[in-house]
């Protein structure tokens, strides 16, 4: 397809832990198109951040093994040298990090940090660069751009810092933006502002966004398509409408039910724990241990992502037989999740 921005194919990222490589991301394939927001949602340890860092080439090389391919503008990012990668990072491919408190250098002024992106990528004069930084700051809703330019990060509030990080990411008009939990560290009212800002900027630029988050609310507000990750794999992939109105995979459904919606007496609790990556199951349905009331025969031996409806993919056949135990959700039956 022509408007494919990024094609991830069978990506597998392993980390060296106690002398052995363990898979944090295990065979993820995903495509992001121009002008599309794809969300990856999952709990801590599911591999979503490891995936983002693999695309950006930000894992320490000595302790990481990355297999598969990440196709971006006709190049496989995984095979580029750091120098080649540096020509793309920050230019066509930009990233926003989770914690705006720590993602900025504490000893450099905000202006200098944004300008640095242009120092690397754009052949502009110092004056032009400064002009552009001020313009970017205004674009992300900072009216006092001239003052903020001179400020150090600690002088700004969390929301302002996140705006600065967004301005930095937009400095060279990237075609793809990877946002790793961009609103997690922020208050709700600020979160709403930042989400709106990101959508607005995305619609202007027609860029693609890969949004990494654990917050289903943020997904519902931002995404066009959603991939749910569990234990290093994508277990469900669908449009945002499909996912929230007809969730299929047991994990997706369990997650949606464990959120307080204002109606349940008791929240749904998922049995057991997310396994540590050293103890990940390598075969069978990885979610099976957490839904013990679904008998073993109902799982596939080697579950694959299967297209159930157009554009709606689910891993493992167990979803056909899955039900939420009624006693776990109190008075509610296993109706598909309905928003309040």
């Amino acid at each position: 397809m022509e408007d494919n921005l990024l094609t991830i194919h069978k990506l597998r990222t392993s980390f060296l832990i106690d002398g052995e490589f363990h898979r944090a991301v295990d065979g993820v394939s995903l495509t992001i198109h121009r002008n599309e927001v794809v969300a990856i949602v999952g709990e801590s340890g599911c591999g979503k951040s490891a995936l983002a860092l693999s695309i950006m080439g930000l894992h320490p090389k000595e302790r990481t093994r990355i297999e598969g391919s990440v196709e971006f503008q006709g190049q496989n990012l995984l095979q580029l040298s750091t120098a080649k990668l540096n020509q793309i990072r920050g230019k066509q491919l930009a990233m926003i990090f989770q914690d705006p408190m720590t993602a900025l250098h504490p000893l450099l002024t905000v202006g200098r940090q944004i300008k640095e992106v242009m120092d690397v990528h754009l052949p502009l004069s110092t004056k032009e660069k400064k002009q552009r930084v001020l313009q970017l700051l205004e674009q992300v809703g900072i009216q006092t751009s001239a003052q903020v330019y001179q400020h150090y990060p600690h002088e700004l509030s969390g929301g302002m810092r996140q705006r600065v990080l967004i301005a930095m990411a937009l400095a060279c008009d990237p075609v793809l933006l990877i946002a790793d939990e961009p609103t997690t560290a922020l208050d709700v009212t600020i979160q709403a502002q930042i989400m709106e800002l990101m959508k607005e900027l995305q619609q202007q630029s027609q860029a693609g966004i890969l949004l990494i988050t654990h917050d289903l609310g943020v997904v519902a507000e931002m995404a066009d398509r959603v991939a749910v990750m569990y234990a290093g794999e994508i277990v469900e992939l669908a449009t945002v409408h499909e996912l929230f109105h007809h969730p299929l995979h047991p994990y997706t459904r369990s997650l949606l039910h464990s959120l307080p919606s204002g109606q349940q007496q008791k929240l749904h609790v998922i049995d057991g724990m997310v396994p540590a990556i050293e103890r990940l199951k390598r075969s069978g349905c990885r979610f099976a241990p957490r839904i013990p009331w679904i008998s073993n025969e109902l799982h596939e031996d080697d579950p694959v992502l299967r297209e159930i409806a157009p554009g709606h993919y689910v891993r493992c056949t167990c979803h056909q037989h899955f039900y939420l135990p009624a006693d776990r959700i109190g008075d509610e039956t296993d109706a598909p999740f309905t928003a309040t």
């Binding site: 900025l104 504490p106 000893l107 690397v120 600690h154 990080l165």
Partner: protein, 322 residues
């Protein structure tokens, strides 16, 4: 910032005062006084006469009066007479302070010139060959006593190879102020400075290495890489800048440490600085000189701490404004 410097300077006053009182009492506790010192071993001066001289010079006044007189003189730069050298202490110190400052500054500069690249390399390529080599050097230099190493340097480069002079601060035949004079001064500095700094690097290297290892996994480093900043710039601008903070903060202490710690080096290279004078004066029980030296080095510590505070404020904007 200026307000801070002024405030910080005022804060030094009580510290210095306390220091001077402490030293004054310690000096008073020493056996004998200026009169005993001056007439020691002169049988023709009787006890009554000595008592009379004491009375004349106010040595029987209440301590507060004596202290006031002493500190008043000290502020005016008068530390009294040296019993041994029979000349004013101030005169005795003048040339030596300059020498020690030269030695300390040079040692400091060479130490940082060596330590910062070493720490950067070791921290950047942790576990690599260079890192292992640097860490080994660090252990060795930490374990080697200064006087052993300095003697070795003196023997090899000063005596066997005879590349550098083995003692003094300048050749006596040189004409003061000429280019040769300066060159000769530097030549005399080489061995003492190298002996000091080769061993002093370990704390800075160790600090910097640890800081870099800690800093290189920080989020803002990821941000820099995600911007496409070349790896060398990531290290030299982003990581090094952040890792230098504790070293900058230590600079002030380092300076005072050097002034106080130059005793061995100066003694071994018979370099006419404060350290050597200190040892000599203690040996000769030249108490007025010892007191003056203790007061000066104590004051140097206090000033050094202040310098550290100010430097940290300059380099770290978070402290500057917070």
């Amino acid at each position: 910032m200026i307000a801070f410097i002024i405030k910080r300077t005022f804060l030094m006053i009580p510290q210095l005062l306390l220091l001077s009182v402490l030293i004054f009492f310690l000096a008073k506790q020493m056996p004998g006084d200026a009169v005993t010192g001056a007439f020691m071993g002169k049988p023709n001066v009787s006890a009554e006469q000595m008592e009379k001289i004491r009375q004349q010079h106010g040595l029987n006044d209440p301590w507060i009066v004596q202290y006031g007189r002493w500190i008043g003189d000290a502020i005016r730069g008068d530390f009294g007479q040296s019993f041994v050298h029979k000349q004013p202490v101030t005169q005795l110190l003048a040339g030596r302070i300059e020498n020690t400052i030269w030695l300390s500054l040079a040692t400091l500069i060479v130490t940082y010139l060596l330590a910062i690249p070493l720490g950067l390399i070791a921290g950047r390529w942790t576990g690599g060959f260079a890192d292992q080599l640097i860490v080994t050097y660090n252990y060795v230099s930490f374990a080697t006593p200064v006087f052993v190493f300095a003697l070795l340097m003196l023997y090899v480069f000063g005596f066997v190879l005879d590349w550098f002079p083995s003692g003094g601060s300048v050749d006596i035949r040189m004409e003061e102020g000429s280019m040769e004079y300066m060159g000769d001064k530097l030549k005399h500095l080489v061995l003492p400075v190298l002996s000091g700094s080769l061993l002093l690097t370990y704390s800075t290297v160790q600090y910097l290495r640890n800081e870099i290892i800690e800093t290189k996994v920080k989020d803002f480093v990821k941000t820099a890489r995600a911007k496409g900043v070349p790896e060398n710039v990531v290290y030299n601008r982003h990581i090094l800048r952040h890792s230098m903070l504790p070293i900058a903060a230590f600079l002030g202490y380092e300076i005072t440490g050097l002034i106080a710690g130059s005793v061995f080096i100066e003694t071994i290279f018979s370099y006419p600085g404060l350290g050597r004078l200190f040892i000599d004066s203690i040996m000769a029980r030249d108490f007025t000189v010892v007191t003056a030296l203790v007061l000066i080095s104590g004051a140097a510590v206090i000033v050094g701490t202040m310098l550290s505070d100010i430097i940290l404020r300059i380099v770290d904007p978070r402290i500057r404004l917070g």
